[in-house]
Structure formats: C-alpha cells, structure tokens
C-alpha cells in the first residue's frame, strides 16, 4: 500500500506539471491586442484525400483578417477528391489570391514534402506558412502568429492544437489524446525543458531561413519533417516559438483503426527521434501502468483502488486541459480517457518491434531521426527483418 501511495503522489505531480504548463499558455494575453506590421504571407496547403470537413477547413483560410496573403493548394493528382473541393473554394472566393497546383513530384519519400516542393516554387512572399488540410482556424490566426516574426531572432512559429468535432469512437479517442497527451507534452517540453516541439499542422517561417537549412528538399526523406525543420532552424540560432493561438484539428468520423495507425506512426517517430527518452512515455502513462499492475499482481483492494484513483485523476486532468483548450468535447467523453490511455499503452510497444510505417497508403522503413527508406520487396524475410532487426537497427 505505501508503494501505491507514493506512486499516486508521483502521478499527481506529473499531471499538475502538465496542467500548469497548459495553463501558462492558455492564460497568456491575447495576441490580437498587440498591433504590429503584417507582412505578406504565402500559405502552402498540401492536399491529399478528403479530410473531415475539408471545405470548412479550407474556407477558414479565405476569411482571415489579414491584409495581404496568398493561398496555394497543392496536390499530386487531379483525380484526388480534394481537388474538387479546392476548385469550389477557388470559385467561391474569386477575389482572393488562390492558386491550385497539380504537379506530381517524386523527389523524396515524404508525400507531404513532395506536395510542398512545387508549391514553394510558386510562393510569392517572404513568409511561408505550412498548414495541413485538417486544420481550421479563426479569423485572427495569421495576425496572431505573424506578430512573433517582428522579432528577427524568431525563426519558426508553431501552434498549440486542439482536436474538435468527434462523432465516432475513433475520433473521440483521437481528440482526447490530442487534448491531453499531445497538448500537455508540447507545453511541458516548450516551457520547462526548453525543447522546441514543432507540430507540423501549422509552421510559419521565413523563406530565407528555410533556404538556409536546405529547403524542403533537405527534409524530403524524413517522416518528421516538421521536427527536423524545427531543429535545424533552432540550430541556426533562431528561436522556435510555440504560439498560444489555438488551432483546430478537425477529427469527426475517424475509425478506431485510423487512431491506432496514426499513433503507432507517431510512436515510431518518437522512438526513432527520442531513443531512450521514449521509455518515459510508458512510465508516465499511469493508467496503463495501473492496469498492468492489476493484471500481473494478485487482485487486491490496493491494486483496484490504485487503478480507480489513477483513472479518476486522469479524467480530472483531461477535463482540466480540455477546458483550458476550449475543446468543446462532451464531458461524458472524458470517461473514455482511461480506455484511451490503455490503448495507447499497448500501442507504445509496437515501435520497439516494428520499424515500418504506413502513411497515406505508402509503406516505408523508418530509421534514425525518422529517416525514411523504401520498403523492400515482400516475402518471408521481411517479417524477420521487421521483427528481429528493428530493435537493433537504430542508433541510440
């Protein structure tokens, strides 16, 4: 029993740390009250497939309160269903500076970077914003993030994200995870550990800085191109800033399979990038640890009470962060938080035994710092390769 009490104290401390970090970002004064010059911005929107509410997501970028900006929708294939949506947006907002580029590019293995390379060539302005298609923003978004660029020492601005609009179990899992683990970790890393943690859903940077790190071509074979860009800009001596302006990641009709696929992929990224630090994720997943304790130890009042206490604390933690992020999740959904953490706990082990990723229909082998290499031919040996070689194939 004393061991469990100590563990409870540790769990509370961890949760408090995350809550304080999130609180510090979400209670900072609004950026819209700070007047500043608004330099022109080129928004690069790589599109592939129909994200949930794609029309609304793209439309939100046509209604920004910002003096001069252009939007470049970029696709690899005119038969992509997102092309028709992009066309409709362009037709609806004829007065806006919107371009659609359809240009197959196979320079690298990262399909998002392949999409960005032709778009970047078309960009007119010195500030480049990369924005994913599953992101929806408020009217003051560009004003809020561009103000950081007034400081010449700032090289990159990324944003806190919140998951919204869940209508299925898979989407609820996704939004719970974004609004707890992801938001909490990003804030803790940025605030207390001074580790820039760039989430590629929104990245604002200067084209000169991008070119100084080698441009998009230099990250074409990395899965975590956002992380690499952030690190390299940081290495230039520039600050990587986490804006407190929240952007919405719309996840409405996800199946549970998509949730598992995404977090397996993200887990593999963190394993390849973080190495031994990845282990900390398992030990900070208190719900999963309590669940495992219940399974492997003789069932007792202490283990059950411990699991119940940890689950209750996690629900309270997630409600707090969700409320701070104004995620709009139904309060009842937070009851699923412990279930989500148990699923995430099992997913945690996958990167240890497998180094292949499936991303947007493409399968790759992922190596150090998320470097991608093509998947070899299929066959019995590939199974051996994946299961046995993977744990020893990365530099730690």
């Amino acid at each position: 029993m004393p061991v469990f009490l100590v563990l409870i104290v540790v769990v509370i401390a961890l949760y408090l740390l995350e809550m304080l970090a999130v609180r510090s970002y979400t209670s900072a004064p609004g950026s819209d009250i700070v007047p500043h010059a608004c330099p022109p911005v080129s928004i690069l929107k790589p599109l592939k497939g129909l994200e949930d509410c794609l029309f609304d997501n793209l439309e939100s970028f046509c209604n920004l309160d910002y003096p001069v900006y252009e939007i470049i929708f970029t696709l690899q294939d005119q038969n992509d269903p997102a092309y028709k949506v992009a066309r409709k947006i362009k037709d609806k907002y004829r007065s806006k500076d919107i371009s659609i580029i359809v240009e197959p590019c196979d320079e690298g293995l990262n399909p998002k970077v392949n999409n960005l390379i032709p778009a970047y060539k078309m960009a007119q302005y010195g500030l480049i914003l990369i924005s994913d298609s599953n992101v929806r923003v408020e009217k003051d978004y560009l004003t809020a993030i561009s103000r950081h660029m007034e400081d010449p020492n700032v090289g990159l601005v990324s944003n806190l994200i919140r998951g919204i609009s869940a209508k299925t179990f898979g989407a609820a899992m996704e939004n719970l995870h974004l609004n707890s683990f992801v938001a909490g970790s990003v804030c803790v890393l940025d605030k207390y550990l001074d580790m820039p943690c760039v989430v590629g859903k929104s990245m604002l940077m200067r084209s000169v800085d991008l070119e100084a790190i080698g441009g998009f071509t230099s990250v074409k074979d990395f899965l975590a191109e956002d992380y690499i860009i952030g690190q390299r800009i940081h290495a230039l001596g520039k600050k990587v800033v986490l804006s407190n302006h929240l952007i919405n990641n719309v996840n409405e009709y996800w199946g549970i399979g998509r949730f598992i696929n995404r977090h397996t992929r993200w887990g593999k990224l963190r394993w390849q990038i973080g190495g031994i630090k990845y282990l900390s994720e398992l030990f900070t997943n208190a719900v999963f640890m309590a669940f495992i304790a219940m399974l492997i130890m003789p069932l007792s009042t202490a283990t059950v009470l411990f699991a119940a206490a940890v689950s209750s604390l996690k629900i309270a933690h997630d409600i707090y962060i969700g409320t701070r992020l104004r995620s709009g999740l139904s309060p009842l959904l937070y009851l699923l938080s412990p279930v989500k953490d148990i699923i995430i706990g099992f997913i945690w082990f996958v990167p240890i035994v497998s180094n292949t990723v499936n991303w947007r229909g493409n399968r790759y082998i992922i190596g150090e710092l998320s470097a991608l290499s093509p998947m070899p031919e299929t066959g019995l040996w590939i199974l051996i390769y994946r299961l046995l070689r993977a744990p020893f194939d990365v530099s730690r």
């Binding site: 129909l50 509410c53 794609l54 029309f55 609304d56 269903p81 949506v85 409709k88 609806k92 009709y253």
Partner: protein, 230 residues
C-alpha cells in the same frame, strides 16, 4: 463533370444522420448535386407497419415538413457549397419474398405519393409531377441480402417503359445486367451512414440545374459512374 449522388437517407427515415448533417457531409466533399430520398414505406403489411411504428418512413402527415426542410437546406447548400439538393423519396415496397419487393426513387417530387398504391399508379403520379423514376438496387447484392429487391427487374418487360433510370451500382455493388439491357443508368451510395460517402457515384456532363440533370439522366447521354474513394 458533375459529381452526384441521388440516393441519400436521413433521420426522416432510417438514416443515421440528420438532414442538415447529411447535406454538409456531401457539401464538404465537393459534390455538385445530390438528392435526399427518405423511405416512404408501404403500410399494408407487418414490415410496413413496423416501419411506420418506429418512424422509419416519411408519411403523408410529415411530408410537407420534410419538403420544407429540404427546400430550406437546399438554399443553404447552394449558397455555401454551390451544390444542388433535389427533393425525393424512395418508395419502399417490402415483402417477405425478395421477388415481390421493390424500391423506387422519385426525384424532384412535389406531392406525396403513398407506397401502397399499385406500381402503375405510382409511376403515373410521378410522371404527372415531372419527377424522375429510378429503380433502386434491382438485382442481387453481396452481403446485404436483406435489401435485395428483384420485382422490377423480374418484371422489366412490363415496367421498364415507365422507369427513367436503373441503379447500375449501389454502394459497393455493381449490377452489370442493367448495362447489358442498355437501360439508362445511375450509380448511388444509398447513403445511411457517413462511411457510405465512399461508394459508387454518378458523373453527369451537364449544367448544374434540375432540368438539365433530369434530361441528362433520361437521355442517358454524358452519364458515367465512378467508385468514389478517398
């Protein structure tokens, strides 16, 4: 080419999403024209009575409300997405035997048509309204055996002249028999859940207005089908 789906259910019958949400799902995906076609079920047997009991059917009582709601949402969809929304129903004659069952889409409907009427009378009333008549899933389908409705296909010699188009494909199934007979065709999702968005669809090479669409379908010129996948 217009990307179209003319077979969509909402919570007015057995669909899982409300009318507004169903329209938004298609609008968000870039569709050009859709038809809302909730079931109007025959109430003259136990299947129909159950459907009426559990409100899985548009009835003469709520038909005007249904139409007003579609009209209101159609205006919103046109303003927001540039998408045409056509009002319709699916006449649903369910019987124990699949040989006696038939489902018929009536597109651009103006006045209520009860499902318990005879086929001839249903077709006549639809024609009087200049509505489009489409025979739904007219052949055997895989997996969802309970939806097989063979009556119209088995009696096509008698009824084909009334039918403006046949569903050559429905959701994941394709009925090549319709093509073999050279009947005009459409492909629809028979949308009940959001995941049904990704299914067979119709492409029309015409102007995006109701008259051009009806003419295009009736004359079967510039009609193609596509399996819409993400």
């Amino acid at each position: 080419m217009l990307l179209c789906d003319f077979h969509i259910h909402t919570t007015y019958s057995d669909g899982s999403v409300k009318l507004r949400k169903a329209i938004d799902i298609f609008g968000q995906a870039g569709f050009d024209a859709i038809a809302i076609t909730d079931h109007v079920v025959n109430g003259d047997n136990s299947f129909g009575k159950l459907a009426h009991r559990f409100k899985y059917s548009v009835t003469s009582h709520n038909f005007s409300q249904y139409m007003c709601h579609i009209k209101e949402e159609a205006q919103r969809a046109y303003d927001k997405y540039g998408m045409l929304v056509i009002s319709g129903i699916e006449i649903t004659k369910n019987h124990l035997s699949i040989e006696n069952s038939a489902h018929i889409l009536i597109l651009d409907i103006k006045e209520f048509i009860p499902a318990c009427l005879s086929y001839e009378e249903i077709f006549l009333r639809a024609k009087q309204q200049n509505a489009l008549i489409v025979a739904c899933h007219p052949h055997y389908m895989t997996r969802t055996f309970d939806r097989d409705t063979l009556f119209l296909w088995n009696n096509r010699g008698k009824y084909a002249r009334y039918i403006d188009a046949w569903e050559i494909a429905n959701r994941d199934d394709i009925f090549n028999v319709v093509g073999l007979e050279k009947y005009p065709y459409l492909a629809n999702s028979d949308f009940h859940k959001p995941k049904h968005l990704f299914s067979w669809k119709t492409l029309l090479n015409c102007v995006n207005d109701i008259d051009s669409i009806k003419q295009c379908i009736r004359h079967n010129k510039g009609v193609a089908v596509t399996l819409f996948r993400n």
